[in-house]
């Protein structure tokens, strides 16, 4: 049978505040175990939470950027369950009244734009981390992450393919980066998603039974897990069996998922209002203040790039997907004055490096200013294409100013006409065979001379100038 795929995502994103959600411990990834902890985030007896105001601001900011309504009144609840990484045996979360609700995010699927509903965004606390003991016996707990602020973004089940799920996650990541509420480092687990997926026979209106796959922390994993789960459910349904409502764990190495808990066991979290935290009332002024702090978001920025800079939609889309990259584009365009050139170089040279080495390049010595300077040299014909690449390479290593590199390595284009003319003469004279070829009509020989001359000029010749003089020089023999 053929089925429609129905997917909703639950996305957890750590907020990049300075301190944790309920105590003054540092909010930072890693570190020696249990060094960023205190009695509060360790849930020691008698300790109480105190809410970090920036957590509320960031959650609202994320909500506004995803077109959510902001709750005038919201509050915190306790979600009770035992797990060794959760020191109080309850998670403080917003079960009944989330801070943001009823929003949407537009995603680009091929050439179409699709609107995905956001059910809610709520605030909660992260748990510690379990690792296996090096002795092979037992598990070890590091609570440095315990109490790190999180938002959970719950989408409506509006996604209809694994690809859409991946694109939505990418889009939301970009929004969170643009609004600077999260650094979204997926390899550090600061952005992770759960995939809820069900199948529905095409044409049917009855929703299928859904499964949940937990803690997927790469775009690829989200897409692959959704794909594999859709196929698994189809096999189950096709064989006349039932899909169970269950939580599954995705194994990215094996490319398969397995049920996490006993099917029979339904968790009863006994949620109730957190008595230690007073409710939160948010007024218009507060919301407006946060609204004003939201920068231009990727969708708007892309449109502006197309209109203002005249770069292709595809390029604009890719560049704006990454805020740092877009910032580099914009600054470089300003410095060099040729946005199309900048966009071309980003789409080729920078993207190539990002694909090979990751996003690290965006946080290296390279910035919009020096990138713009390099391209300005190129645009003015002061350096060649090859030299520009060489400058980027050196800059990434040494962090020197482009002008310093250009001078130090003597990369400026050689335009001294008599010198260029002499070099050309010399090359033509010392290659009689090629000259004969050229005279007998073999045009390929022209390219041969160009190469030789450029090599003789150590790559610093201006190709158009060389071409012009070479053409004149050869003319003499015809």
């Amino acid at each position: 049978m053929n089925y429609d795929i129905v997917i909703g995502l639950e996305i957890h994103s750590e907020l990049k505040t300075s301190s944790k959600i309920f105590c003054g411990c540092k909010n930072e990834f890693g570190g020696e175990p249990n060094t960023r902890c205190c009695p509060v985030c360790l849930g020691m007896p008698g300790t109480l939470p105190a809410l970090n105001k920036r957590v509320l601001e960031y959650a609202i900011k994320a909500g506004l950027a995803m077109n959510c309504r902001i709750a005038g009144f919201s509050k915190f609840d306790r979600k009770n369950y035992f797990y060794p990484d959760m020191p109080k045996a309850y998670q403080v979360t917003q079960h009944s009244l989330p801070i943001c609700y009823d929003g949407y995010v537009d995603i680009d699927v091929g050439y179409e734009t699709k609107r995905i509903g956001i059910e809610r965004i709520h605030i909660e606390e992260d748990a510690g981390k379990l690792i296996h003991s090096s002795t092979g016996q037992g598990s070890l707990i590091d609570y440095n992450r315990s109490g790190v602020p999180l938002i959970e973004i719950v989408t409506k089940p509006d996604l209809n393919s694994p690809e859409e799920a991946k694109i939505l996650l990418e889009t939301i990541k970009t929004i969170l980066e643009y609004t600077e509420v999260s650094d979204c480092k997926m390899q550090e687990g600061s952005l992770r998603a759960d995939v809820n997926l069900s199948l529905r026979p095409i044409g049917s209106n009855t929703p299928g039974v859904r499964t949940e796959m937990k803690n997927l922390n790469s775009f690829r994993a989200v897409q692959r897990a959704a794909q594999a789960e859709a196929e698994r459910q189809a096999r189950v349904l096709d064989s006349g069996q039932k899909v169970y409502k269950e939580t599954r764990r995705w194994d990215d190495h094996k490319g398969e998922s397995l049920p996490m808990r006993d099917k029979e066991e339904v968790m009863d979290y006994r949620c109730f209002p957190e008595p230690d935290l007073p409710p939160v009332y948010v007024d218009e002024d507060f919301i407006n203040e946060i609204q004003a702090s939201i920068p231009e978001l990727p969708g708007m920025r892309r449109e502006r790039y197309i209109n203002q800079y005249g770069i292709p939609k595809y390029d604009a889309g890719l560049i704006t997907q990454n805020k740092v990259l877009a910032d580099i584009f914009e600054k470089a365009s300003e410095v060099c004055g040729n946005p199309k050139l900048v966009s071309n170089w980003i789409m080729t040279e920078i993207m190539k490096r990002m694909n090979e080495e990751g996003e690290g390049i965006l946080h290296s010595y390279l910035n919009g200013d020096n990138f713009g300077q390099i391209l300005l040299f190129l645009d003015k014909g002061d350096i060649t294409h090859a030299a520009a690449i060489q400058v980027i390479d050196v800059l990434l290593e040494t962090g020197e100013e482009p002008i310093v590199i250009v001078e130090r390595l003597n990369l400026r284009v050689q335009r001294d006409e008599s010198l260029v003319a002499n070099t050309i003469k010399q090359v033509v004279n010392s290659n009689p065979q090629a000259l004969d070829d050229y005279i007998s009509g073999k045009k390929k020989a022209f390219g041969f001379f160009m190469g030789k001359i450029m090599a003789e000029l150590k790559g610093r010749g201006d190709p158009s100038q060389v071409k012009e003089i070479l053409t004149k020089e050869l003319q003499r023999y015809l």
């Binding site: 003054g24 540092k26 902890c37 205190c38 105190a50 809410l51 970090n52 598990s139 590091d142 008595p275």
Partner: protein, 96 residues
């Protein structure tokens, strides 16, 4: 009417991560049943459209500034743990 029976006690004990020995189950069930029967009288009260009172205080919007104020006090925090290893708290192997 019995509201809390042995089966219920077993279930809630499991949820609360405590263990009640078989021989004590009956006694616990009987006591809890007596108590719940009495406290359950609250169900008969007509509370109309009354809202549940979640906070007794008229206090709202209590916030802390986003500042790092705590230092590393790992040793003090680990002091009360009976089993630890290399600066970690230790538990029997957790399989997910």
């Amino acid at each position: 009417m019995t509201v809390v029976d042995v089966k219920t006690v077993r279930k809630i004990a499991d949820m609360a991560a405590v263990f009640i020995e078989e021989k004590d189950l009956e006694a616990y069930a009987a006591q809890l049943n007596t108590i719940m029967e009495h406290m359950g009288k609250i169900m008969d009260l007509d509370t109309g459209d009354q809202e549940p009172m979640e906070h007794i205080l008229p206090v709202k919007n209590v916030f802390r500034d986003d500042e790092v104020t705590n230092k590393n006090i790992k040793d003090e925090l680990l002091k009360n743990a009976s089993v630890k290893e290399d600066g970690y708290f230790k538990v029997p192997t957790v399989v997910e």
